[in-house]
Every structure is written in C-alpha cells, then in structure tokens.
C-alpha cells in the first residue's frame, strides 16, 4: 500500500531505533542467543499472543508440537490486512528479532529449514528481509515464499497452500496447523511480530510484554507504535481526539468503537475480546474527513467483497450482497434487517474467517452508531453526497 510509514520509538521491540537494522548492532544490543530446551521455550512464551489477528497463545502451539520431531516453522510476514504496517515496520527496523525468535525455536526443536512468507507487493519489506537473512550465520536455511497481493492470502491455510505450490488461497482446515500443516506435518506458523515477541521474552525477560499497533487513516502515512500491555489506551491515542471520534479497531476485519470508550480502558486482549472488539493485528483506523462511519463501512465492505477468493458459496454470494446492502444504507435506504440477515448467513460458513470478519465489522457499525445510521436513513448525514450510489 503506502510506502509512507513512520515508526515511533517504543519500550522494547522498538527501542534504540538508532542502532539500525544491521546484525552486528542487533547482537551487541540484545546479546547472544541462549540455547533453550523445549520446556524453557514454552515457559518463556507464556504471555506471547499470536499477532496475526486471532490472538492465539503461542505457548499452546509450542505445546502441541512439543513431542514431535522437527516441526515445520513458518514466519508469516505477508500482512494481508491493508491497514496494518507493523510487520513492514519490523522488517525495516528489527528484522533480526523476528529471525532470533525463529532460530530459538528451530534450535530447540531440531528444525533445519525455516520458511519466510513475504508480501510480493511490498518490495521494501522483501528486500529488508532478504538483507537480514543474508547477514545470518546460515542464510541457506531460510526459504522465501512470495505471497499474493490480496486480503485472504495471509490466512494460515492460504500460506500453506502457497508453500505447497498451489494457489495462495484458503482451504478447509480439518485440524490446527500445529497438528497437521505443511505437507501434513506439525507446523508452527505465526505472524512476524509473534516471533519477535517470543525472542524478546527470552532476550529481555525483565521488560513488560508489549504489542505493536498501527495508527492509520487520518493521513497518508501510517504510524507504528509499541505499547505495553495493560496500559491505558489514553496513553497511546492522540490527546486532541474528541471522545465521540469513531475508531475502527483491529482493521478491516475489526469492530467499531469510539475514542471515549477506549481511552480509560487497558490494552488487553481478553478484555477487548469480551467487549466484542478483538485487537486483531493491532490496527487503529480513523475515519477520513470526507467520510462518516457509515460511508467508510460501505467503502471497506465493497473492498472486502472484492477480496473474496470466490471459493466458498456463502462468501462469494453473501459478501457482494452485504456490500450492496451497506451501500444502500449509506445512500439512505434502511437495509438494516437485510444486513443482519446476511451477517447470520455468512458467519461461520467458509474455509477462512473472511466472511466472519467482514460481517462483524459491518454489524458493529450498526450496533455502535445507531444515530449516524438514522441520519443516513433520514438523508441528513453530511457525508451522504459522497456515499456510493448505483444501488438498486
């Protein structure tokens, strides 16, 4: 997407950015990698959550492969979510922390070959990863795979399909990847940040666990920041934002909330999930000046409908239908019952979570902004002339 990307200094992962991404400076800063047993690694991984979107505890994945010989190791660096830039930022400033996490696990589990899946449309990310690999002691142990430029290409099963030489699209997962993944073998597949967070738990265990966030939407340049888990959102949200300002938390598959709701609450995976606001890949998206939440939801939903892999019936029939219904709502027709009906029809009925995430984003808009929706139905919203027309 955009090559304009700012990275703010942070407490741990994004500390000492002045070191640059080189291997020597990295080793001097973080020290040598210890050799850990499998049990040590599981213990160290305790607070690490999957940062690809699902937030699955990484220690559970490690436990699933604990007694298996040389599980396949895959770093998902492809960042299919268009608003997320944290993995691109990692490639630029801290690629060796990701590779450290991989190396720790590979050594403990006896895995010789590691797979890195990079985004083919972001050349700067690919080059940064390749540079970092070239600086490591055993560059030939890394296999590079180029993910397709589409939303669902970063989904775990789609990544495994790509690695197997098939189309980079999701298929049905009958078992978790940790049990049956690449070539039917136990596979540890995680997002780039997850591997870096694991390395941090080993190299800087005294530092409090953090998470990366991408702020996007208000200007051309996205901003990646690192926040300590458990701190209040108020400490990372710009102070000048009014309480009623809408935010899409978690990215295109996220859910709507407001600055005022978020500000006093802690950055906490479980608390957010319980409130129906999964942190996902950590995207905080603002509404551009030209739009309101309703028209922005319509725009995103039209994009998401176009990103269906066209493989699962409820998705390739339901998402375009949902996009039409949301566009009609933005244009002033009350299609709320139809939107809710379509949400129920597409949720849980696909090989991947693309329909689920898209429907959740739309439904959260209806739930969170009934006044804006009413303003559209009553043709009183200022953003109305810009709403997508051409709807039956």
């Amino acid at each position: 997407m955009t090559s304009m990307l700012r990275v703010a200094p942070g407490p741990l992962l994004l500390s000492h950015l002045e070191d640059g991404p080189g291997y020597r400076a990295h080793r001097a800063r973080f020290g040598d990698l210890p050799k850990l047993s499998r049990n040590d690694l599981v213990a160290a991984a305790g607070p690490v959550r999957g940062r690809g979107g699902a937030g699955f505890p990484f220690a559970r994945k490690l436990q699933a492969v604990e007694h298996r010989r040389s599980p396949e190791i895959v770093v998902n660096w492809s960042e299919g979510e268009p608003a997320s830039h944290k993995d691109a930022a990692l490639a630029r400033v801290r690629p060796h922390l990701v590779l450290d996490g991989v190396e720790l696990v590979a050594k403990a589990f006896g895995t010789k070959i590691v797979h890195l899946v990079v985004p083919s449309e972001r050349e700067d990310v690919t080059n940064a990863v390749l540079n970092a690999v070239g600086e490591r002691a055993h560059p030939k142990r890394y296999r590079i795979h180029h993910a397709t430029d589409r939303f669902v290409a970063g989904q775990a099963r789609a990544v495994l399909e790509l690695m197997a030489g098939r189309e980079n699209l999701p298929v049905t997962a009958w078992q978790p990847e940790a049990y049956q993944g690449f070539r039917g073998r136990p596979t540890l597949l995680s997002n780039a940040e997850t591997w870096a967070q694991l390395a941090l738990r080993v190299l800087c265990p005294e530092g409090r666990p953090t998470t990366l966030l991408t702020f996007a939407g208000e200007s051309a340049a996205a901003l990646v920041v690192e926040a300590e888990l458990g701190t209040r959102w108020g400490s990372v949200l710009p102070a000048e934002l009014p309480d009623h300002e809408p935010l899409l938390l978690g990215g295109y598959h996220g859910a709507w909330t407001t600055v005022g709701w978020l500000r006093p609450r802690p950055i906490d995976h479980d608390l957010l999930r319980a409130a129906g606001l999964p942190l996902g890949a950590g995207v905080v998206l603002r509404v551009p000046h030209t739009e309101c939440p309703v028209t922005m939801t319509a725009r995103l939903m039209n994009y998401l409908a176009g990103q269906t892999a066209k493989r699962c019936g409820p998705c390739f029939n339901g998402l375009p239908e949902l996009a039409r219904a949301v566009s009609a709502l933005a244009a002033g027709t009350d299609t709320q019952p139809r939107i809710r009906q379509l949400r129920d029809l597409v949720t849980g009925r696909g090989a991947c979570a693309h329909p689920d995430g898209s429907a959740r984003m739309v439904a959260s808009m209806l739930a969170r902004f009934p006044d804006e929706v009413a303003a559209h139905v009553g043709a009183q919203c200022g953003a109305l002339p810009r709403a997508k027309a051409g709807v039956a």
């Binding site: 049905t172 009958w174 892999a309 493989r311 019936g313 029939n317 029809l345 009925r349």
Partner: protein, 77 residues
Amino acid sequence: MSAIASARAQRRWDIRVDWPNCYARGLCHELLPEVIDLDEWGYPIVNAAVTADLLADAREAVRTCPTLALRLNKTQM
C-alpha cells in the same frame, strides 16, 4: 431403557461442510432435511447435531454428496 442404551441414544455427531468444495447441489438437504436447510443461494445450513436415529441418513448424505464436501464427526463432549 438400560444405561448403555440411553448413553447410545444420547450420542451426537457433527456435520461439517468443506466450503470450497460445496457447489450447492442440495442433495444433503433432500436426504437429511431434519438437520440441513438450504440458504437463499442453495448452500447447506447445518441446523443441529445428528442424533442416533438420523445417523443412517447422515451417512447417506455424506456418501452421496456429488462433490464429497461433507464430513461426519463424533461430537467432542
């Protein structure tokens, strides 16, 4: 009813759909209307778990699906 017979009667099975392989032929609904509905595009909606008395029909639906897109698993208790 004996304890064993009642335990048998309480067993449940789940129908799972392999969505990318489903082409909305609708045979599963014909064979197992008690469990499977069709949505507005003709794709299956699995409404309930399969009970012991429906097991034979469910197996028939899995076996005769033209694209082999259904699976039947014992429900994990």
